[in-house]
Each structure stands twice: as structure tokens, then as C-alpha cells.
């Protein structure tokens, strides 16, 4: 069997087109579709069937990755509404938010000098996670109200926050290596 590559990701997994989805149901449907289309099922078939299988599975994997993460799921929903699709720049004009991010970053850069840098990193990470949750909440409300510009802005901010989390991990790794 082949997957309809034009079907939207929510239909593919038989899910309602909404931000709040049943993530367990998504996983179950993903695995059962994998059972049907994965190239391993066509290892003994002809080249044509194998090509279709690779395409279908690649599409399925992409769809699953997109819906699994609330951030990419959010962007995908907006894309379906015709917002931010194609080449887009992730920028925000929210000065207060940018200022806060700058401060966080400065804090992170100086964290090696803290009394217990690992405790300080944990605290900063918790704080940043809370920022992310707050922005996702903003998205949820804006999406429900049909305010897509605000929704898009919230997701863009999550991109900044994710980058920050990544840097926290990198700094932690470096500090650990220095201890060895």
C-alpha cells in the first residue's frame, strides 16, 4: 500500500485538525502505518514497490516528527491556514522579550563562575522551560481565537527559547568535560 502524499498530516493519522491531540493515539497509528509501508515489508518486492515504500515511509516519518512536537505541530497548523509557509524569517518585534532573552544569555555566559555552576544551570533550565510553556499557552489561546499573527509570534519566540535550551546543554557538557 502507498500513502497519499497530498493528504494533510492530521488526516493521515486519523486525528482531528487541532492543536491538542492524543499523542498516544498518534504513536499507535504511526506504528501501525509503519507496519504497512516500511521498506522492510517490500524487501522481496520489485524496484517500483520499493520506491513507493521509501517515499511513503519518508513522508510518514516526516508527518510523525512534525505532529509529535508541539512547536512543529503549531507551525504546521498555521501553514495549513496559509500563514508563514514558504520562506519565512523567524523574527519578533517584541522588544521586552528580546531584552529578557539577552539577559538570560548573559547569565548563561557567566555561569561558569557561579559557586555551583551545575545548580545554577539547572535553575536557568527550569526557568527557560517555564518560558516555553508560557509561550505555548499564548499560542493555544491565540490559535483558538483565530488570532494567527499572535499565534505565529508565540511560536517564533519558542524558537529563541529552544536555542537557549540547546546552549544550556552545550555549556553543561563543556563544564563536565573540564571536570574530567
Amino acid at each position: 500500500m502507498a500513502i497519499d502524499l497530498t493528504e494533510n498530516y492530521f488526516d493521515l493519522f486519523s486525528l482531528p485538525l487541532d492543536f491538542d491531540i492524543d499523542v498516544d493515539a498518534l504513536g499507535r497509528k504511526y506504528r501501525s502505518l509503519q507496519q504497512e509501508v516500511h521498506p522492510d515489508r517490500f524487501a522481496a518486492s520489485d524496484a517500483q514497490a520499493q520506491r513507493v515504500s521509501v517515499q511513503s515511509t519518508a513522508h510518514l516519518n516526516e508527518a510523525y516528527e512534525t505532529l509529535k512536537d508541539p512547536l512543529t505541530r503549531g507551525f504546521y497548523l498555521l501553514e495549513l491556514k496559509g500563514i508563514g509557509s514558504g520562506a519565512h524569517e523567524y523574527t519578533t518585534s517584541d522588544g521586552a522579550f528580546l531584552m529578557q532573552q539577552l539577559e538570560r544569555r548573559e547569565e548563561l555566559e557567566g555561569i561558569g563562575q557561579a559557586d555551583d555552576p551545575f545548580d545554577a544551570l539547572d535553575a536557568l533550565r527550569d526557568e527557560t522551560h517555564r518560558d516555553e510553556q508560557a509561550q505555548m499557552e499564548t499560542f493555544r489561546t491565540a490559535w483558538a481565537a483565530g488570532d494567527y499573527d499572535t499565534a505565529y509570534d508565540a511560536l517564533t519566540k519558542v524558537m529563541f527559547i529552544r536555542r537557549m535550551l540547546q546552549q544550556i546543554d552545550e555549556i553543561e557538557e563543556r563544564l563536565e568535560d573540564e571536570l574530567d
Partner: protein, 624 residues
Amino acid sequence: MALLQISEPGMSAAPHQRRLAAGIDLGTTNSLVASVRSGVAETLPDEQGRHLLPSVVYYREDGPPLVGYEALEKADEDPFNTIASVKRLMGRSAGDLKKLGGQLSYRIADVDSNVPRIVTAAGEKTAVEVSADILVALKQRAEETLGAELEGVVITVPAYFDDAQRQATKDAARLAGLNVLRLLNEPTAAAVAYGLESGEEGVIAVYDLGGGTFDISILRLHKGVFEVLATGGDSALGGDDLDHAIAEWMLSSAGIESSDDHHLMRRFMTAARKAKEALTDADRTEIEVELADGKHWRAELTRARFAELIRPLVKKTTGACRRVLRDAGIKKDEVREVVMVGGSTRVPLVREMVGEFFGREPLVSIDPDKVVAVGAAIQADVLVGNKPDGDLLLLDVIPLSLGIETMGGLVEKIISRNTTIPVARAQEFTTYKDGQTAMSFHVVQGERELVDDNRSLARFELRGIPPMVAGAARIKVTFQVDADGLLNVSAMEETSGAQASITIKPSYGLGDKEIEAMLRDSMEHAQEDMTLRMLREQQVEADRVVEALDAALAKDGDELLSADEKADILAARDALIVARQGEDTNAIKHAIKQVEAAAESYVERRMNSNIRQAMAGHSVEEFE
């Protein structure tokens, strides 16, 4: 053979419809082939009952290569033509080889090609060709044992193998005439052999201590997906080092300083290996070695003493385990199962220290030499279609990120590591100059920011872009990775109606064309080999004719022949000798016929004279 076939409802009971598939563990030191027979996955032995096939190939001038134990025997007398550990060269460029440096005991041809070629008596060989010869030996073993042709195989590769190494492995299989159903990560195969994929979700550690390499892999099993979280190890640590530790102790107890006597050293190493193996089950063992002066040295080695000798080596492996857990971001107590792979994990101290490190008993019930091949066979059986209702589905992830070089030597990642495969991702690029009609791409693999720190997979150029202002062209680059982790990249200009696209297959400099050339080569060589053999046969035949004729002439030539008759026969004989020196099989054949014709009446006369005995042992038929 089963006399009665009892089948579950809905399951086929027709044994003839069963498709033959095999799992192949293509190892650095040893290789194995396994298959599922009567529902049981087991490795297949050779005629002497040996399951392991040493991954060694011996090349000679006149004849097919020797593979396995036969090749191993040649290692001493002809090291340059005995190729071992070729897996270390798979997918490596000539540049990579320089980094491996002095580790290689064979000669690399100095040609200007990306692919290093080993100089042997049978010509230059690439690592792919040497591996193909090993695969052919395994294929033959499987087909002889199973009694039919293999429909497909699963070949295992280390989890850390990059795209070029995987591609090289697939190329070797193609060259060996094998249909590869799937390349499978070795640690995943070991986990499958233990049926772990059907168990609970969690983290699995696979500890693989082989003859000359040590690998530790941390896998996460999550909803049917085996994700390789991290791999580590030591490419120069293995069972051989344990033997060395014992041999050193033996030499110092025997009061011998390391000696140049190669044979003596070999006897010590052999005795050390035997002692190591004996101590798997026994608490103590007697060691005896014949010294250079013919006297015998004897000693007793206890398991406790042995443990003391090798403790520092085993400690090195648990140190690597600690590092890899950190890389994976996993705590020791999160590891649910530890799978033991490789012959050296039979050593009691290894099991004990690994068990202590992870705080749980490692899994050892499947022979650690065979466990990878067994897992591969189980997967092969499913893939070839013998278990249509089976739900074994292994989803792998790519081990290293794939990206493209951008301005300033930076890497733009297109597909990041640990993405479930197969996967396809596209990214748009644009021109940076007005009127630009071509764009070159450099595909790299690795986690580093700078291109130079990553592995270069391929470069290609997209031409035929319609001239536009800088930044107006839209070039879509698509990366597609198949279920084996192999990459295809294509680029397409899509603004205007004009489209141009190119597909490349990165493969360390060996393109499809080169592979085909190799295949053709090997077929032509088969033809050459055949021609050569016919020539040799005719030459031997010529020698026999001349020898028999000379013997007869010496005995009664002057008696039975006139001077003219004898001169005719001798002329034909000399012509044969001249032809025999040449390489023309037909000329030799013809010259033999001429001798036979010239000597026809002579032969008749000899028979009539009842002197057949003179020709006894040389058979008269030669003159017919």
C-alpha cells in the same frame, strides 16, 4: 528432517515455498553466516564443523583466492598476499589510510584514485573486492548447506559506520552476487537475537569485545524503534591483548626476554590462547611450551592469577562504557539489559566486571561469537517474506547528521542525527551572483560546524540555471536516506519552467560505473582464468606425449623405424616442443596431433611386436 509438519491455522505448511535467506556477520577478525531452519536461527558450519570463517583472503598468481583458515595458514610465509582486517579499510579513502598508518601489513598501490588498492599477486584489490571474496565463501557455504540459492541476505555493520562504509559493504555484496535485503546495525542484531525488541521499552547496552576491537553501544528501544544513542570503544583492544598479557607473564616466568625467534613467540601465543580458553570453565590450567633448545617449560596458571593479569585491560573497557553513557545522557541504572557479544566476553572476569559496572547480570545465553549473525538471520527470515504475519519491524536512525556546505566553510544540516529512516528532506538555496547559471554543492556528514571537521561525501554541480538576478533562483536540494542509511541527493531549479536536476550517490569515489567495471572485470577474469587453465592442461599433455615418445624411441626406435621415418617423427616432436613453449593452446593441440599422426604406424608396429610393456605406465592412448 521433520516427518510430520503440523501447522497453525492460516500458516502455510508447504516447506518448498519457504524462501531462503541468511544473516551475515562480516567481522574484522571472523565472519559467520546464519539462517533460520525449522524455526530456529543458527549459524552454519563448514565441512569440518567450524562455524567461524576467519576474515582473511590469500591471493595467488595462478588460481582463485583462498579464504578463511586456508588463507590464515599463509599469513606467515606470504604476509603481503594475505589480507586480514580489511573491514578497517571499507569506505576509506587513500587519505584516511595515511591516518591508519603503520597498522597495515600489506602494500597499498600508489595510484591516483580515491580508492586505495592493495597490491597482491593476483593484481590490485580494493577493500570492497576483498570483502566480496569473503562474502562469496559464506554464500557458497550457505547454499551448499541449505541446498538452494539464497534469495536475500541481511549483512550487519557497526552502528558507527558512516554512509561511505555502508555503501562499500553493499557494493561488496553486489560484487559477490548477493541480494541485500537490509544492512543492520550489529548491536541491534544482537538485541534481536535475544528477542529484546518484543520486550519492554528502555535502554539496552551492547558490549562487544572481539578479537581485535571493542565496541560499546547504547540503544534505546522506543515503540519498535531502535535508536542508537551513542557508540564508543577502542579499535585496538580485543581478545588478542588478553593473550598477550598471558604470554608476557609466561615469558617472564620462563626467564625469556622478548625474543626474535618468531616461531618460539608463536608457540607462546598459541599456548597463552589455549590457557585463556581453558580458564573459561576451569579454575586452573597447565601450560607447556617447547623452548628453542628443545626443552619444555611448564607452569600452572590459576583463574585468579589470570584475572590479575588482565584486570587493567578489562578496566579500560568499563572506562569506555562510562564515557559512552555520558555521551548518551544515560545513567547506569537506566540500562535495562546488557547484551554480551564477541568471543572475549566468555572470559569470566569480563562478565564479572561488566556485571558489576552496570549493576546487573549481562545476557550470555547465546554464543557471543554467533549472536550477531543469529539476529541478522532472524531479520533476514522476516524480510524475505517467511513471516507475513510477524510484527518484527526494526526502525533505525541515521548515526550522523547530513548537510551541505554553505558560504564560509560552514555546514547547514539538512537531516540531523537520530532521525528515523527512511527520510526525505528538502531545503531551498539560491544564487549569489547576477546571471549565475551553475551552482556547486558539497555534501558532508558529521556533527561539527565546520566543513573541514566533517566527512566529505560528495561534490556535484547543478547546471542550466536560467540567468537571473542574484537571489531570484530557487534551487531545491533534496536529501533522501533509504532504510539502509544510504543517501541520495538531488537538486532542482524550480522558478522558471526550465528544470535541471542531478542525482548523486555518494560512495567514497566509487561510482556505479566503477562498480560495474569491477563486476565486468571479475567476469572477464573468470574467462581469463578458464583460458589459462586450458593452456596449462595442454602443456602438461604435451610433456607427457614427448616423454612417452622419447622413452619408446630409446627402447626400439632404431629397430622399428627407417631413418626417414624417425626423422619425420623427430621433426614433429621438435615442433611440439616449440609450441609447448608458447601460450597458444590451439597450436599445442595441433602439434600434439601432428606427433600422433607421424608416429601412427610406429605405434602400430610396436603393438604388433607385442612390446606394449615398453609403454606401460604411459598409456598407448596418447598416440591414438
